[in-house]
């Protein structure tokens, strides 16, 4: 069966065993994009790998940059300590990414459930504004390539922060409310999603799922709180959890998480200081001392981790990505058992996978 989700074209299908309409077995079949991200990461110099991380989960390129930058900065130590302003810019970008990605995932969850196509279009509108901001600051809407070791590539252009404030303070909350009113009590959505694809807390932990999938199963685990990175410990926000771990909770957790992101953003755009955005001069020759590092970020889809082993040469000796989409997929069979074919599509949508991350 498949491809079903818009992003599963050619690279993912499900091998389903059915009894009538009921699922009795499911094996995800990963196809290939033939990109070989991890191997290329061992050929690339550390800097050259940035644009490749954009292409992992191509809806959250800022977040992908973030994790990779943290991993290599961990190796470089004090040489690459981001200045204050850069930290704020990073958090702003990462949270904007979260909103854009959750918007997309809610829109397309509804698409998978058969609501062609209005919710998706509504959700894309806010994403559009956010991508405009990315394009303005970084030069590209989706392949941002914006982070550098110790900071970000460019300072924010004039007027950027004002427009960002406008969007964050006056607009996003209202739009999330509207989406909430539009969808959350819709009887058809409730019917299709309540009690479907349940993952108990124990199962969610045992499958090592992450992000909204884990939190919907009532496990309050958010890396921004559990192991704060960058300057997340300064912001006031709560970790959202669901109760039942079903499809509806995964939808609703994402919606509430967007509100928390707006909360963080409001604090960040209020407090952002002036100053440099890189600790030293820009250089393409980056010296990374030998050692190994694992850094992780709470990406919109879950824990995104980078494991980098450096041997003192200009390229990584070993480079591995722990990508949330791939690992969340392992729980797919568990969630689908006993449901019908039509539910499988929704359950897959609720995982919010991006196949760039599944095949590396």
């Amino acid at each position: 069966m498949g491809p079903q989700h818009p992003s599963t074209h050619g690279v993912f299908r499900m091998n389903i065993r059915v009894d009538g309409e009921t699922i009795v077995g499911l094996k995800p079949v990963m196809g290939y994009m033939h990109r070989n991200h991890e191997k290329i990461g061992e050929r690339n110099t550390f800097l050259m790998n940035f644009p490749f991380t954009d292409r992992l989960d191509y809806l959250t390129s800022m977040g992908n940059n973030f994790g990779y930058a943290l991993a290599v900065e961990q190796l470089m130590g004090d040489d690459a300590k981001p200045p204050e302003r850069a930290e704020y810019i990073r958090v702003i970008m990462a949270e904007l990414t979260r909103i854009a990605s959750h918007m997309w995932s809610i829109g397309f969850l509804l698409n998978d459930l058969g609501a062609f196509f209005t919710p998706a279009l509504y959700a894309i509108e806010e994403r559009e504004l956010i991508l405009d901001l990315f394009e303005w600051a970084a030069g590209s809407r989706m392949m941002c390539n914006y982070f550098r070791f110790g900071g970000v590539a460019f300072d924010l252009p004039k007027g950027w922060i004002e427009r960002c404030r406008g969007i964050v303070n006056d607009r996003l909350d209202k739009r999330i409310d509207e989406l909430d009113r539009y969808l959350s009590e819709n009887e058809i959505l409730l019917d299709r999603s309540k009690g479907v694809g349940v993952l108990t807390p124990e199962q969610a932990i045992n499958f090592s799922t992450a992000g909204p999938v884990l939190r919907a199963s009532n496990v309050a685990y958010d890396i921004r709180r559990a192991a704060p990175y960058s300057i997340y410990d300064r912001f006031d926000f709560s970790v959202i959890t669901g109760k039942n771990g079903d499809l509806y909770d995964r939808y609703y957790v994402r919606l509430l998480e967007m509100r928390e992101s707006v909360r963080i953003l409001k604090q960040a755009v209020r407090d952002i200081p002036d100053g440099p955005i890189l600790p030293g001069k820009k250089s393409y020759q980056i010296k990374v001392p030998a050692g190994e590092a694992y850094a992780r970020v709470e990406n919109p889809k879950g824990e995104l981790g980078y494991y980098v082993v450096a041997d003192g040469s200009p390229t990584a000796y070993r480079y591995h990505v722990r990508s949330p989409s791939f690992i969340n997929l392992t729980a797919l069979e568990q969630m689908c058992m006993g449901h019908t074919i039509a539910d499988v599509v929704g359950i897959l949508g609720s995982l919010d996978i991006v196949l760039g991350e599944v095949d590396r």
Binding site: T45, N49, P51, L129, D132, G166, E187
Partner: protein, 236 residues
Amino acid sequence: MGMGQGVIRGHLITLRRFLLTFWRDARTGGAFKRRGGGHQVLDFFRKPGRGNEPTVLQDSKTDGLFTVEYPDERLPVYERFRVLPVLVYDTEDGNVRCTSCNICAKVCPPQCIWMTQAKSPKGTVVPLPEDFYIDMDVCMNCGLCSEYCPFDAIKMDQNFELSNYERHQTHIYSLQDLLVSSEYYSKTHPDAWQSSEETVERGKVAKKKDQRLQKALGATKPAPAAAKPAAQPAKV
């Protein structure tokens, strides 16, 4: 909540959006007009001239549905927006800024840049590119080459309308295809052009260029690549 109320509420929101869109268009005088067209009724069928399309900026106040009727309307092009790299030559004297130092090729992630350095007739190295190729099908538009070029020679262009009939020869850009004038660059990147960093950089590069020319003149004949590009620039 009673049966069906959630669905009805959803429909009311859709209806509100629908009406808002028309209200916005009526407010801005665009309700009965083809977007990007003229003011008369008959103008409905007229397209705006190429390059004169109105720009639509969507910001925090936009309501109704977001539709930009490209190509009759356009989104703003931001200065940093990057598509493909170009090489800059100075409009005044036609000199290519590139010194063929190879840094961009070293830093290019998919390794799609390659070049040969110019040689004087005596066989000594001249800091100019004899030829310079970029495989545009491989280029991932990351902008690293332009970010790390020490001579401000390679820059990212904003032209995104690149459709083409043939993709084997035409997508390997050579020096001639890549060259743009500094005038062109100053128009597409006004802020960067005026920024203090680039102005200082230009001063430095001018000095280096002088030395380079002295060196080239010191050789028996001027280096071939220095004169060639100026004769027929690809884009102005």
